[in-house]
Amino acid sequence: MARHMKHHADPTRRALLGSMAAAGGLAALGWPGGARAAAPSRGGHVRYGVRGGSTTDSLDPGTYSHAFVRTMGYAFCNTLVEIDGNNRLQPELLEFWEGSKGAASWVFRLRPGITFHDGKALTADDVIATVQHHVRPGSTSGARALMTAIKGMERLDDLTVRFTLEAGNADFPAIFSDYRMMVMPARDGVADFASGIGTGGYVLKNFEPGVRASLERNPNYWRADRAFFDSVDILAMSDATSRQNALLTGAIDVMDQADLKTVHMLKRKSGIEVASTTGGLHYTYAMNAELAPYDNMDLRLALKYGVDREALLQKVLRGYGSLGNDHPVAPTMAYYAADIEQRAYDPDRARHHLKKAGLDNVSLSLSVTDGLYQGAVDGVTLYREQLAPVGIDLEIARVPTDGFWTDTWMKKPFVAGIWGTRATADMILSAAYESTAAWNESFWREPRFDALLKAARTELDESRRAELYRDMQVMIRDEGAAVIPLFADNVFALSDRIGHPEAMSGAWELDGGRSIERWWIKA
């Protein structure tokens, strides 16, 4: 078994675990291997305009939650595991990982010879301190819930750590690709985040929260095939139109999240490239399955048949995305079941289910906020019009973004939500659909589902495992309490003097958050 689960940094060996299927599969194998027309060139200064930055940001990765800190963090730090341009898991700081005992025991071995910006060598102690930072009692980290399964950590030697889990999980290494799992140096056994020191391709020179971060290339970077820019400024720009204007006038070279309303016009501008990547980012309209009338399966089906996904894709995402099928497993993920029938807008069928639920006309209220994602309120506005012929009067309860996660999400019975890309199907299913999940936004508790999920984590037979995941997708689609209308692409724009690999990760915005070390200025 150990052999099956061993995964090396060696690029010639195929990742067996938790690999997300490549979108299309044609893209170059690994990076930067393969014959490329133009080799990346080194040098130059680049300016980024990225959303999300706030004056309240800190360097504690446990508090990371948006594009600005993600982009900055991936530039000066590394994680143990990375998601490559083809959306596959690869060891980053690790040389290999190896699971045993029914995937309940894991050995992680670090690459030798890596140093932090201050010259300190990377060792097993840093890994333990980093994980400890998130799991220790009294931890305030947002990643804490991801790692509740860790029972013990053991330093085997300078470069090797063994994790023991409560229960087997074949996808365990995937957790370490999370952007909050940036490896920090240990000082007296405690992770030191405040100094802003990492092992990454860039050294953090200056960080003014909510304004900018300035980075310079790390001359001692352990990877020769990365980090091409000499220096980078990241500007916090929360207004999409401002970012766009800055790009149009050459004040910045790269912007994340293009304004979808005008992206068709931006595309026509010379000197600007609009790019997009596909991942598991998806939007939900989550009901509380424990509260009437949402405890009625037929009402839930009425709401699922009452949404015109095609119209939402066209008008809200301007085509940058794909249709959701009321389950959270994305087409780019391993174990996505492509053969499940796509649910379509069917007002008659919706009305039929509404009648069956014993309701002829019903008024419901869907809470949403502008800051959730671009077009969040527009989407609900369209949904309202689509539900009108069904006999459902949907009130749009637009609430302030401020306080949304505390006061509205998982508090109001019907709420719009968003889920970022997870590296594996298991991660999103156990984050939001397992009965005991802290973020079970639809309050859907189904023991049959929990059993399937648990079985899939330790199932080693690939076809059996795929079958289990298919059953879970069907179950959520038909019985679950969330309408999942759309998977959204990450859409961003850059000056055409910036070069980037053909295959870009869709895990987060801008090449999985790692564009600063992966992109270059064209020679």
Binding site: T55, A145, D239, S242
Partner: protein
């Protein structure tokens, strides 16, 4: 003159009381907002355990009154404390931004106040002429456009052609000339926003006086129209004009968060909005008090100037 000093002292004392009242109001308002710092920082990834841990680490689990008194005690000794969210000293957070905010306010005021006064005087002088109508229509149109939209229009016209930068990310090291150039568009946007109000008040205040007997008298004596307005009407119209200038100056200091966002200008407004969103109470308090102090001082200055400009008020009966 002595009464004037007494008035200033009295007003400063009242100002302090106002600041105290504001700190209580802001503190209670933040307490009333849904969620606290722990929840807002963790956002979607909050779980009951992490929130509880965060709260106890920051002392948010203590009673509100205790936290307020703690904060007030710090302020009384001149210590603004540290930001709970970024763990940086608040004085450091604010220092850089306050100079940016004041710079932009002064920049915009330096353009808009003379412009508004001259336009207002001319409009009063040539009232109901084509010039008057044109000035009014232009001013009213520009004041009808939301600030962010004015900003976008100026960027479209003046930045896309390459004349001025669309991003005003000034830094502390920038030389003055570069700073003026970088911040030109936000300053111009603010100028367009505040000029109309001041210009129309100037015009109205002067026209209001033109029917007074003493103006009639001067006219009959054969004093030229321009001289009548400058030397006879203007001095008596100064009080309302100074007042509206002060109101707009206060606005330039305290109300420009939207312009800051559009031009990525690192000012106090953005700091305040971010801190409100994350419930970083001590930063919100510090920033609000600075804004309030600016308001109190500007008002005081306006009243002093209005008094000085009017001998009848200096030598009160």
């Amino acid at each position: 003159m002595k009464t004037l000093w007494l008035m200033i002292l009295g007003r400063l004392g009242l100002g302090l009381a106002t600041l105290l009242a504001i700190s209580v109001i802001i503190f209670s308002a933040i307490e009333m907002l849904p969620g606290d710092l722990a929840q807002e920082i963790l956002g979607q990834s909050a779980t009951p355990e992490t929130v509880a841990a965060f709260r106890s680490e920051l002392g948010l689990d203590r009673p509100a009154l205790e936290r307020y008194l703690d904060w007030a005690g710090g302020i009384a000794t001149g210590d603004f404390g540290t930001s709970m969210a970024s763990r940086r000293p608040i004085s450091e957070l604010i220092a850089a931004r306050i100079s940016n905010t004041l710079f932009l306010a002064l920049y915009a005021a330096a353009i808009s106040v003379p412009l508004a006064l001259v336009l207002g005087l001319l409009a009063a002088l040539y009232r109901n002429s084509v010039f008057d109508r044109l000035a009014n229509v232009t001013a009213l149109s520009s004041v009808s456009l939301p600030e962010f939209f004015l900003g976008y229009i100026l960027i479209f016209v003046l930045a896309q052609s390459g004349l001025f930068p669309a991003v005003a990310d000034v830094t502390a090291e920038m030389p003055l000339g570069d700073r003026l150039y970088a911040a030109f568009l936000p300053a111009l946007t603010l100028t367009l926003v505040v000029t109309a109000h001041m210009m129309r008040m100037t015009r109205a205040a002067i026209i209001n006086l033109l029917a007074s007997p003493y103006i009639e008298m001067a006219r009959l004596k054969g004093v030229p129209r321009g001289r009548v307005i400058l030397c006879h009407a203007l001095p008596n119209a100064l009080a309302p004009i100074i007042n509206v200038v002060a109101v707009n100056m206060a606005y330039l200091v305290t109300g420009v968060v939207v312009v800051e966002v559009v031009f990525v200008y690192p000012g106090l407004g953005q700091l305040l909005v971010d801190s409100v969103a994350k419930r970083d109470v001590s930063v919100v308090q510090a920033a609000s008090l600075i804004f309030a102090a600016a308001y109190v001082l500007l008002n005081l200055a306006a009243d002093v100037l209005a008094t000085v400009s009017n001998p009848r008020l200096v030598h009160a009966r």
